[in-house]
């Protein structure tokens, strides 16, 4: 390990403080906005010390609280998308991890090309399809179509976790007479459980943060929270207090989940490609 002189240390810390101010400062400033009285949103020069005001949260989530149901909608859609993707992804990830087969590289690349394809291409036909089959604005329309992202992502990430379960353990179970299915449930599932939880958490966050699908496929009563926030850019003006209050609530679950994920953050964000 290299030693740094005092001057080098000073320069590194100075740069790092600039980096932190640039990347974290704006978030803090926005959180403060949620606690400001709407009349003080634009006070310049900026006031760091002010009387905290909770009215923005009260208006949006309590009384009249139009955004409270949207919070529930976000939970339903994100959990639904996560739960639906798991069985599909788990069986595919197991197959790709444990078997030699022709076209494996192709299939893995196919999943990833879905992840990086432009979703808008799919969403417009879905919009028309859903109104034809009577699913317009329904939860299931969003949950089903989000699978185009949730399944490929989960397959990749889960595969990286199953790859790490030693094959010997599974083979030992077979020698003891366990069927492949039984060995799967007794060996793979318990040992890959952290991986399953991590994958679910990431899928939940990505579904939670997705705006395009709910923007196009929801209706008034099924709108998710991030989409609901957009409506405060009204023609009559921009309601910054309400935007900040709802956006701060919308950003909390992903932030908390990322903090819980700790050392798995790198792996999840790279679909399991970088172990971190």
């Amino acid at each position: 390990m290299r030693r740094h002189t005092a001057r080098q240390k000073l320069a590194i810390y100075a740069l790092m403080i600039l980096v932190m101010v640039f990347f974290v400062g704006p978030i803090c400033w926005f959180i403060l906005l949620a606690f400001r009285h709407p009349s003080e949103a634009y006070t310049l020069p900026p006031q760091l010390i002010f009387e905290p005001y909770l009215g923005n949260f009260r208006d949006t989530f309590v009384e009249p609280g139009n955004n409270a149901p949207q919070l529930v909608n976000s939970l339903i859609v994100s959990s639904g998308a996560t739960l639906l993707s798991l069985p599909f992804a788990l069986s595919a990830a197991y197959a790709l991890s444990r078997f030699a087969m022709r076209g494996k590289e192709f299939i893995l690349n196919w999943y990833i090309s879905l992840l990086i394809a432009p979703p808008i291409v799919f969403v417009i036909p879905y919009f028309i399809l859903m109104s034809w089959i009577g699913w317009a604005g329904s939860y299931q329309a969003m949950i089903l179509t989000l699978q185009t992202l949730a399944i490929p992502f989960s397959v990749w990430l889960l595969k990286s976790f199953i790859d790490e379960v030693p094959l010997d353990l599974e083979e030992a179970a077979w020698v003891d007479g366990a069927t492949r299915l039984r060995a799967f449930f007794r060996i793979i599932i318990p040992l890959a459980l952290p991986g399953l939880i991590v994958t679910s958490m990431f899928t939940f966050v990505f579904s939670w943060n997705n705006v395009l699908f709910p923007l196009v496929l929801s209706r008034g009563s099924t709108v998710t929270l991030p989409v609901g926030t957009i409506s405060f850019f009204a023609s009559t003006g921009v309601y910054w207090g309400h935007i900040a209050a709802t956006a701060v609530v919308a950003m909390l679950p992903p932030m908390i989940i990322f903090l819980l994920l700790g050392r798995y953050v790198v792996r999840g964000l790279t679909f399991g490609a970088v172990k971190g």
């Binding site: 990347f23 078997f99 087969m101 291409v121 417009i124 923007l215 957009i230 971190g276």
Partner: protein, 296 residues
């Protein structure tokens, strides 16, 4: 690898089938829908069904009615410059983190915060900061004597697209930083010591030892981010709505406007196929040149 019986030969395909079938259905339907309707005149405001066969008209109209070329140029510019900036800024921060001075671990944990936000939330955040009257950034820049366009950075045709790129860079540079940092950790001390014995240090060490060893990770990150930027919609929608005029339209936003604002389904279908072809070319070039020998 295992081969217990003939059942096992078919088993992996049976296990793959459910996910492949549901995904194929979810992809082929929209693509087929777009292919058929690209040859039909259909505006959803006037008819719930396609009206008449219109040959290649929709494909011509894409270029006549919508700013397709401008959107393509904007998209490539945004994706190219954005990925470049994020990669090198992220690399710089990763090297700072890699000094392992006291406090770096905590800073790394906090640094990822922008990446956890929904892109729309990042969009709101910067609309507030960039607000021409009362926003803190124009106020700071004015204080430093840097001129701010009177309509604000988002309302000015020359700076709107650049501002979108800046917000995306703010959001995703931490992602590059922490992943490249993980890559730096994976480079073994022995290799670095061997290079030091050979007299390498500083820049030479970085360019001929560190960087080549990070290549597989870097190639993967660059592909993912380039395509995510290529697909930019959320930020455009919240920050500029494609404007002013059409100055910051991306291909995704252009599709959205034509399909879900103007309801020109036939024209949108034709444009969808043009975008699908462009994206396929990019992905396949990438897979061919960079991933031919996949190293991860």
């Amino acid at each position: 690898m295992l081969n217990r019986s003939t059942v096992n030969k078919r088993l992996p395909y049976i296990l793959l089938a459910p996910s492949v079938i549901i995904l194929l259905a979810l992809i082929l339907y929209p693509l087929g829908f777009a292919l058929r309707n690209s040859f039909w005149f259909w505006n959803l405001q006037t008819s719930p069904m396609p009206l008449y066969h219109s040959g290649w008209d929709n494909f011509r109209m894409v270029f006549l009615v919508t700013p397709f070329n401008e959107a393509l140029k904007n998209t490539l510019l945004l994706a190219g410059l954005g990925t470049f900036a994020q990669f090198w800024l992220g690399m710089g921060i990763a090297l700072l983190l890699h000094t392992h001075l006291r406090g770096m671990g905590m800073m790394r944990a906090v640094l990822i915060m922008p990446t956890t936000l929904a892109p729309v939330v990042a969009g709101f955040l910067f609309r507030y900061l960039l607000e021409p009257k009362g926003g803190i950034l124009p106020w700071l820049l004015n204080g430093l004597g840097i001129p701010v366009p009177p309509q604000g950075f988002l309302g000015n045709a020359g700076t709107a697209l650049f501002s979108i790129g800046l917000v995306d860079t703010w959001q995703w540079t931490p992602f590059f930083a922490i992943v490249l940092y993980a890559g730096l950790l994976s480079i073994s001390e022995e290799i670095k010591e061997a290079a030091q014995v050979d007299g390498a240090s500083g820049w030479r060490m970085f360019s001929s030892v560190t960087l080549p060893l990070l290549r597989p990770i870097a190639a993967f990150l660059v592909m993912i981010r380039f395509m995510q930027l290529f697909n930019s919609f959320d930020l455009v929608y919240v920050l500029t709505n494609g404007g002013p005029g059409t100055a910051s339209r991306t291909l995704s936003f252009n599709l959205y406007r034509e399909g879900l604002v103007n309801y020109n389904i036939g024209l949108t279908a034709a444009m969808t196929w043009l975008v699908v072809i462009i994206v396929s070319i990019i992905i396949n070039l990438y897979l061919f040149f960079v991933f031919r020998k996949r190293e991860w």
